[in-house]
C-alpha cells in the first residue's frame, strides 16, 4: 500500500468541516492533539451501544464482553510497543502516567528498590514538557533528592558532553523526552540509556511525541518505563499508557487506591493485586481504552515507518520554505537528522499570538506560546514561538498554505 495523505484524510471526519466562514481546515496542531479517524470514534460508540458494563466486575455477558474489549486493547498496545500485555497500564494521560511514577517512587519504603533518599539524583533535560519536569521537581522537594538536567544547545540539541557529570553514581532516575514537542529534536537515547543503567538508574521515556509518529520498541530501546497519550496518537481523549518492565512494576508501589487494585482489604489495611491491576483503581476508562486499541490498529495498518517517512518529507519541505521567508527564525534543528515534525519559529517582531490569529483567520491551526515547556523557550531566548506540527494527514498543500499565511501576516502587521 502506498502512503497517500489525501486518502488518509478521508478517514478523518473533521476534515469535512470548514473554518472561519468556509475556509479549508489546515490542521497543523497535532503536537497538541491529533484528529480522530472514524474507526476510533466508532469503536467508542460501539462499546457504549453494545458492550458497556463494568469490566472485571460482573459475571454477566456484558461484563465479559467489556472485559474482553479492554483486555484485547491491552494486547494490541503491548504488541505495538514490543512489551508484554501485563506491562501495559492504562491511565488517563501521559501527565497522569508521569505523576504516577513520581508519586509511586516517592512512596517506596526504605527496603524498596525504588526508595529515594536525600542526596539521590533525578536527571531530566531543559527541553522537557512541564509534565515531565514538575512531577520530578516535586518529588525532589518531598524526598530531598537533587534535580539535575541536560542543557539544550542553541541548535536545539541536548548537550551530552557532560554526560558523566550529569548522570552519576547518585542518579536514581533519568526521565527524558524522546522528541521535543517544541523543537522537534529527537534525542539519541542509546548512549543515555546505557549510562543510566551503568550507574543503576532507571530510564523513563516521555514518548508523547514519538510513539504516535514513528516505530518505537521498548525492548530495542532497552528502557524501563515509557508513557504516551492516546489523544496525540489518533486515539480518544482521556486515555494514556504507562508501559513498565514487569520486574519493576512488581516492586513499584501503587498510586491510586480503590476498587479492583486490591488483593485484600480490612478497615485498617490493604494489600495489592499484581500489575497491571495494582495501578488501575476504579472502573476503567473503558470506551477510551477500546478506542485507543482501534487507534493503534489503524496506525499499525498504515505502518509507523511510512508515517514517519511522510512526516520527514513534509517537515523538510516546511523548513526549507520557512527559511526562505525573511525574518523567520527556526527554533530547533534545521537538518532532518534525528528530527520529527514539530517546527517552532518566530517571525521578526510579530508576536506569535498575532501570527497565530492571522493564520487561524485563513483556516490554518497552529499553536503559539511556550508549549508547556517554559524553561525551554526561555533558554532559547524567546518569550514564545509559533509551532506548526505535522501528522499523517498533512499534505504539501498544507505547508504551502502555511507559508502563504506567514507571508501575508508579515504584510498585515508590517
Amino acid at each position: 500500500m502506498t502512503f497517500d495523505p489525501l486518502t488518509i484524510r478521508k478517514d478523518f471526519p473533521i476534515f469535512g468541516r470548514s473554518i472561519r466562514d468556509g475556509k479549508r481546515l489546515v490542521y497543523l496542531d497535532s503536537g497538541a492533539t491529533s484528529q480522530k479517524p472514524s474507526v476510533v470514534i466508532d469503536a467508542e460508540s460501539d462499546f457504549y451501544r453494545n458492550h458497556n458494563a463494568a469490566a472485571h466486575r460482573g459475571a454477566h455477558q456484558l461484563a465479559e464482553e467489556a472485559t474482553e474489549a479492554i483486555e484485547s486493547a491491552r494486547g494490541i498496545i503491548a504488541d505495538f510497543l514490543g512489551g508484554a500485555t501485563d506491562e501495559i497500564i492504562f491511565t488517563k494521560s501521559s501527565t497522569e502516567a508521569l505523576n504516577l511514577l513520581a508519586y509511586s517512587i516517592g512512596s517506596a519504603a526504605k527496603e524498596n528498590p525504588f526508595h529515594l533518599k536525600a542526596g539521590d539524583e533525578i536527571v531530566v533535560s531543559e527541553m522537557e514538557h512541564h509534565a515531565n519536569l514538575i512531577p520530578w521537581q516535586q518529588l525532589a522537594k518531598r524526598t530531598g533528592a537533587v534535580l539535575k538536567w541536560f542543557e539544550v544547545e542553541p541548535n536545539g540539541r541536548l548537550d551530552l558532553s557532560n554526560m558523566k557529570s550529569v548522570i552519576t553514581d547518585r542518579t536514581k532516575i533519568v526521565a527524558l523526552t524522546h522528541q521535543s514537542n517544541v523543537l522537534g529534536t529527537i534525542n539519541p537515547l542509546a548512549e543515555i540509556v546505557k549510562r543510566a543503567h551503568e550507574v543503576g538508574a532507571i530510564f523513563i521515556l516521555d514518548a508523547c511525541q514519538s510513539v504516535p509518529h514513528m516505530p518505537v520498541n521498548v525492548t530495542d530501546l532497552d528502557i524501563d518505563f515509557l508513557v504516551f497519550s492516546g489523544h496525540k496518537a489518533v486515539g480518544p481523549t482521556g486515555v494514556g499508557v504507562l508501559w513498565g518492565r514487569a520486574s519493576l512494576l512488581a516492586d513499584l508501589p501503587p498510586f491510586l487506591f480503590g476498587g479492583s487494585m486490591i488483593e485484600s482489604v480490612t478497615m485498617t489495611d490493604a494489600t495489592w493485586a499484581p500489575a497491571p491491576r495494582k495501578f488501575e483503581a476504579g472502573v476503567p476508562n473503558m470506551a477510551q481504552i477500546v478506542g485507543l486499541g482501534a487507534a493503534v490498529s489503524y496506525l499499525t495498518n498504515i505502518g509507523m515507518q511510512k508515517i514517519h517517512n511522510h512526516e520527514i518529507e513534509i517537515t523538510q519541505y516546511a523548513i526549507s520554505k520557512l527559511q526562505e521567508v525573511e525574518e523567520v527564525r527556526i527554533i530547533g534543528p534545521t537538518d532532518m537528522n534525528l528530527r520529527g515534525g514539530a517546527v517552532s519559529f518566530t517571525l521578526g517582531e510579530i508576536h506569535p499570538h498575532d501570527l497565530g490569529q492571522y493564520l487561524d483567520n485563513s483556516g490554518i491551526a497552529v499553536r503559539t506560546g511556550h508549549h508547556c515547556a517554559w524553561p525551554l523557550t526561555r533558554k532559547m531566548g524567546v518569550p514564545s514561538t509559533t509551532r506548526a506540527s505535522f501528522y499523517l494527514y498533512n499534505t504539501i498543500e498544507d505547508i504551502d498554505a502555511l507559508i502563504t499565511g506567514v507571508r501575508d501576516a508579515q504584510k498585515y502587521f508590517a
Binding site: 459475571a59 465479559e64 472485559t67 493485586a273
Partner: protein, 149 residues
C-alpha cells in the same frame, strides 16, 4: 439449556459432596489463596512423600465451580507422582484458557473434563483455577522444603 454445559452433573455432585474437604493436621505446605474479585477463599494443605502427592486436604468458601474444581483436583492428583500432577495441571490450565477451542483429554483429566464448559465463561475461569493455583503454590513450597530438609 446452555447453562448445563457449565454446571455439569459431575460438578454439582462434587459441589454437594466435596472430597477431602477437611484440613489434615499434618502437611508439608499450607497455603491460603483468595479470589479478590469475588472474595472466595481456600486453605489447602499438601503432603508430598517420595515424589508422590501423598495427601491434599482443603477448606474454603466459594461458588460451585471453585468448590467442585478443588474437590475434583484432590481426587485426581492424590497418589500421582508430582511430575504427572504437574502435567495434569498444565493440561487443565490450557483447557481453561482455551475459550472452548479444545475438548481436553478425558483419559488424563478424568472428572476435571466436566469443567471444560467454564472456559467459555471468562469471569469463571479464576473460580475453576483457584484450588489449582493453590495446589501449585503449595507444591512448590513443599518441594523447596524437602530439598532443604
Amino acid at each position: 439449556m446452555e447453562l448445563d454445559n457449565l454446571y455439569q452433573e459431575v460438578i454439582l455432585d462434587h459441589y454437594k459432596n466435596p472430597q477431602n474437604k477437611k484440613l489434615a493436621t499434618n502437611y508439608d505446605a499450607q497455603v491460603h489463596h483468595v479470589n479478590p474479585s469475588c472474595g472466595d477463599e481456600i486453605d489447602l494443605n499438601l503432603t508430598i512423600t517420595d515424589g508422590v502427592v501423598a495427601n491434599i486436604s482443603w477448606d474454603g468458601v466459594g461458588c460451585s465451580i471453585s468448590q467442585a474444581s478443588v474437590s475434583i483436583l484432590t481426587d485426581l492428583l492424590i497418589g500421582k507422582p508430582i511430575s504427572e500432577a504437574y502435567s495434569i495441571f498444565d493440561q487443565f490450565v490450557s483447557l481453561m484458557q482455551s475459550k472452548g477451542s479444545i475438548p481436553g483429554d478425558e483419559s488424563v483429566l478424568e472428572d476435571a473434563i466436566a469443567l471444560a464448559g467454564v472456559s467459555k465463561y471468562p469471569a469463571r475461569i479464576k473460580c475453576a483455577l483457584l484450588g489449582w493455583m493453590a495446589f501449585k503454590d503449595a507444591s512448590v513450597q513443599a518441594q523447596a522444603k524437602s530439598e532443604l530438609g
